[in-house]
Each structure stands twice: as C-alpha cells, then as structure tokens.
Symmetry: C2
Subunit: 192 residues, 2 copies
DNA sequence: TTAATTCTGGACAGATTAGTCCGGAATCAC
DNA sequence: GTGATTCCGGACTAATCTGTCCAGAATTAA
C-alpha cells in the first residue's frame, strides 16, 4: 500500500510541549517548532492540522500526564496524607531537575485566562480531575484520622491546587529546591 | 518654547499594563497598544523607546504598585497577622472586581522564566521587597503571640508569596471569590 | 513494476509585525 | 508673528509570520 509514518508523533508532540511551555503560544513560531520537532513543514500540517490544533493537542497531553503523575505519586504512599506530601515532593524533584522549569497548563491560564473557551475547557477538565482525586484522598485522610475534622475537604482540595500553581510559578521564577520543599511542608501543615 | 505633552503618560502606561497582562508581551501588538493607549505611533516611540522598553516600564510600575498595595493593606490592620489576612482579602476583592483578572508579574514569570535577565531582575526586586515586608510582619506577629513559635519566618514569607501567586493563577482560571477567600484563610491557618 | 503514501526541502503568497519617516496642524514661550 | 516642540495620521520598509503548494526521493504492498 503506502509508506508508513516514520517520525514518532508522540515524541514530536513532546518537543512541541517543551517549546510551548517555555515561550507560550504566541512566543513560539512554527519555524521553531519544526526545528525542535525535527519534522518538515508539511508533516506538521498533515499530522496536527495547524499551529493552534498542535497547541491544543500539546496542552491536552501535558495536562493529562501532569495530573496522572501527581495522582500516581499520591496513591503510592503508605497513608493518604503522606501521599499528598509524596506527590508534592515528587513534583518538586521533577521541576528542579529541569534547568528551565515550566508548566504548560499554568502558562496557558496566564496567556489566555478565560478568553479562549476551548483552551479554558482543557484546563477546567484537568483541574476537575485533580480536584476529584484530591477530595477522595483527603476524605480518606480524614477517615484515617490524619487530618483535622474542622478542615473542609473541597476547600482543602482547592487550596492544594492553588499551592501547586504557586509552587510552579515560584519554581519558574527561580526558587531553589529547599525553599520549595519547605513551602510545600508548611502548606500541608494547614490540613492537620 | 514648545508645545507640552498632551497625553497622560501614566494613564497610557496603565492601558499598556492592562493589555500586556491580558495577552502577554508576544501576544500584544503595537497596533493594539496604540489603540488602547490612545496615542499615535510616533508618540509611543518618542515617549517609551520601543515595545520592549514599554513592557519593562509597565512591568516595573505594575510590580511596584502591586507590592505597595499589598503592604499598605497589611499595615492598616489592627494586628500583624490580621494585617496579612486583610491584605489577602483586599487583593481578592480587587481581583474579583475585574472581569478578567490578571497579574502582569506572574504573566512575565510564565512567559519568560529566567530566560530574560532584565525581566527576571524586575520580578526579583519586587519579590524581595514583598518578602522583606512579610518577614517584618511575621516577626511582629510572632512577638505578639499571634503565630506559632515553630514557624520559620523566611519559610512562611516564601509560602505566602507562593500562595499569592497560586491565588492569582486560580483567579485567572476562573475561581469565584468565595473559593479564593476560603483558600486564603486555610493558608493562613498554617501559620498559627 | 506499479500504485499509494510519506518524507524532505524549498518556494511561495498574503498577512502581520516592529520600527522609521514625513507632512501638516496645534500649542506653547518669546 | 516666530521658532520650537508635540501632536496625529498615514505611508513606508524590511522582516517575520502562518499556511499552502510543488518536485522529487523514499518506502511499502500488491
């Protein structure tokens, strides 16, 4: 029949994620994308449609993986509340390992706010998934007696989401690992 | 001698701040700036240099005012720790009053990270000013017995800065005022 | 071999970008 | 009035942007 696709679409998308999260949508040119993704112009348009659709695909995959990583780390710990702490520490370790920490999800929120409905809904979806996982975990933490009964679970979930965003911004601004870890531990103190 | 400047440079800069914080540096065209600032092309280049210098001026003024507002609200309260709470509530009230909440400081961090030294140093300066004010306030809070003696002041200051950033991202993502207030109050709980 | 498909590289168009320049009107001090 | 300066609007350049298109080579199955 025909010649099959040669390049790895997922790897190319990963390169696009890296570029978009460093420079934003408007700050990333198609030319730069072609170089980073190591595909030709035609391949990009054939495979992903256009720059916007590529951005949407990148944002979707990044957000899904990001939330999945967090939840996976959270589940792996021995108790619910230590799971939350583990997840934060794993996130910080990953962020600091990168020489230029950045989050495409936060970048998209900052660049577009709620002005672009499609982009906003992608962010909403992953925020909702994360919030649900956190609420489940916090409910379990309360049942296990790890958490104060005076703490409202939905509020705590929203607080942890905001804390995560705050840590991402701090990391991108140049905060060192120790500071980030201390900040995260102090945040968790409010749940006890 | 000569005809004096007619337009209000500070007001024009305010319009530039609004536009840059909504769309970022790359997402804001000079054409859009001219319309919003209500000045002619020549006036913009004569007065501000170029687009980048205008952005730097906007970022400087925004960050200074932002920190000054926070510190002013913090000082106005009856006790140190309630001052921190007042400052957060005042910030939330202002953010929610805007139909499209945004922070140019956070936007600059997300768009440029530490890739642009001049932009990064502007962010560093205001972060340092805010941190110093917070440390002073928290030290006073500890002395007044409002805060637990086990809380490390520099860590708490970094935590409050990260919380502020997290609230800004949450507000831009569409969080309602009640959620933001509950999150802020929960954050402050960790200091007691 | 042939047909179908994907690849690369480059050319290309049309729009938009940042920044410069000019002409003429307006406003001030002298 | 005169000169100096600032205003505006628009023309303008040169570069860059996104997206389309084409030619030719490569790779697969029938």
């Amino acid at each position: 029949m025909a010649r099959p696709k040669e390049f790895d679409g997922e790897a190319a998308l990963g390169a696009a994620i890296a570029l978009f999260s460093q420079h934003g949508f408007e700050g990333t040119s198609t030319e730069a994308l072609l170089r980073a993704m190591k595909i030709s112009r035609q391949s990009l348009y054939d495979t992903f449609g256009d720059k916007r659709q590529l951005y949407l695909a990148a944002l979707r995959r990044y957000n899904q993986e990001n939330v999945a990583d967090f939840v996976r780390a959270m589940m792996a710990a021995p108790t619910p509340l230590t799971g939350v702490e583990y997840a934060f520490m794993a996130f910080i370790a990953k962020a600091v390992a990168s020489d230029h920490p950045s989050c495409l999800g936060v970048s998209a929120i900052c660049e577009f706010g709620r002005a672009d409905a499609e982009i906003a809904s992608i962010g909403d979806a992953s925020a909702h998934t994360l919030a649900q996982a956190l609420k489940t975990q916090l409910t379990a933490a309360r049942a296990a007696g790890e958490m104060g009964t005076d703490v409202d679970v939905p509020t705590a979930a929203a607080f942890l989401g905001a804390t995560l965003a705050g840590l991402k911004v701090s990391a991108r601004a140049g905060a060192d690992a120790d500071t980030l870890r201390r900040v995260a531990r102090l945040a968790l103190k409010s749940l006890k």
